[in-house]
């Protein structure tokens, strides 16, 4: 009798934990689906939706230069999904993309040996890994991005860490992204601490900051499809998938962390150090929002 009670209670507790374990991403899933619903509704018919979503865009531009009925996969192109003139220029550039040299340099770095004889192959046996980054390390209790993982590999093998954001680290990131093309992004939220990191990233994204009092959402959620001076703003959906990005402004390949720095400066706030806790939580949030879409990095942007 007593053993029966113990067994049933153990069974109840075990099943409860299994049921609860899957619910750490419940709110995140709601957010993700709500964002997809918002974006698909916004870009379904810009002319008809003008009053609600594009109140300051001239009507003739919406009629002649904007695409209609965007599908989820179209959002991987960012602002080139809806801006038809920019998309023509992008397609032309893509015939001979400027990042080819960065990707081949990244491949060389991947195969170069460290002083102790090992190479990146020992840390990352298969270079097609970007579908699972960033991930939440449950033991360390922090978000691990691809840049952090690359430098961890270097430090573990006795080499000096690379600078984040550009240069060799961006080239290796570009090689990983090139090899991971076509994979479906799948970022997971395994426990309560990960959910906390996701919520911290979400709060950072939607908080107004800087002397211009703009949040990331001002431009990339509410402002997506509109113009900021002469630039067409890209939507949040699908933004993570095309990084690292060859930005024509930089004339170089740069990672997502590098873009955070630039965006912070645009908002009027002094940026933090790359790969700080806030930036990593933000990258975690951004990646989760684009879950389910295919990876197509590296890519060209203005």
């Amino acid at each position: 009798m007593f053993s029966k009670i113990v067994k049933t209670s153990i069974f109840i507790v075990a099943s409860a934990t299994i049921l609860v374990a899957g619910s750490f991403n419940a709110q995140a899933e709601k957010d993700r689906l709500a964002l997809q619903h918002y974006m698909l509704a916004k870009f379904k018919n810009p002319v008809a939706n003008r009053a609600e979503y594009f109140p300051y865009m001239p009507l003739h531009i919406l009629k002649t230069q904007y695409a209609k009925n965007l599908k989820l996969s179209d959002f991987l192109l960012g602002s080139y999904a809806y801006d038809l003139d920019a998309r023509k220029q992008y397609t032309e550039l893509n015939e001979f993309p400027p990042y080819v040299f960065n990707v081949s340099h990244g491949e060389k770095l991947y195969n170069t040996k460290f002083k102790n004889g090992k190479s990146f192959k020992d840390c990352f046996p298969n270079p097609a890994i970007k579908g699972n980054y960033p991930y939440f390390d449950t033991k360390k209790g922090e978000v691990i991005t691809i840049g952090l993982a690359i430098n961890e590999c270097r430090v573990k093998n006795g080499e000096k860490p690379w600078k984040y954001g550009k240069g060799k680290l961006a080239d290796l990131d570009g090689y990983f992204a090139f090899k991971s093309r076509g994979q479906v992004l799948n970022v997971t939220i395994p426990n309560a601490a990960a959910e906390k990191a996701y919520n911290a990233g979400k709060k950072y994204y939607y908080s107004q900051r800087g002397s211009l009092k703009m949040s990331c959402a001002t431009c990339h959620v509410q402002g997506a499809g509109n113009k900021l001076r002469a630039e067409s703003l890209s939507p949040l959906l699908g933004q993570y998938n095309h990084f690292p990005v060859y930005r024509l402004k930089w004339q170089a390949l740069g990672t997502m962390q590098r873009r955070f720095k630039g965006c912070n400066k645009n908002q009027g706030e002094q940026p933090q150090k790359l790969q700080s806790k806030d930036y990593r939580d933000l990258e975690y949030f951004l990646a989760y929002m684009s879950n389910g879409l295919k990876l197509d990095g590296p890519d060209i942007r203005k």
């Binding site: 015939e95 001979f96 400027p98 080819v100 040299f101 004339q251």
Partner: protein, 97 residues
């Protein structure tokens, strides 16, 4: 030098990109390096000159060129050659598809 050469209706269209930093004098001074830019770039098909470019510091990094000529056969090679102001030169080739 990466190049793509396509034959269509008797005309070969070539698009190519040279891997070169193309530092102008002002940019090089800021970076404490010597100015380095391609001065002469040519492309030859069967020994015949099909593209000839003389440049100074006005072209930007990794210059991209595009040209077309009448003729060409599938499988034949186009030979590119460039030399820059420091004396470095490079020869490479691409097949016509």
């Amino acid at each position: 030098m990466r190049a793509i050469a396509k034959l269509k209706n008797g005309i070969t269209t070539v698009r190519a990109m040279a891997h070169h930093p193309m530092l102008s004098y002002l940019v090089a001074k800021k970076k404490h390096k010597k100015a380095k830019f391609i001065t002469h770039l040519t492309a030859k098909y069967n020994g015949q000159l099909v593209y000839d470019l003389y440049s100074t510091q006005f072209l930007s990094k990794n210059p991209y060129i595009q040209f077309a000529f009448k003729g060409g056969k599938k499988g034949d090679k186009i030979v590119f050659y460039w030399i820059d102001n420091t004396g470095e030169s490079k020869t490479s080739s691409a097949k016509i598809r």
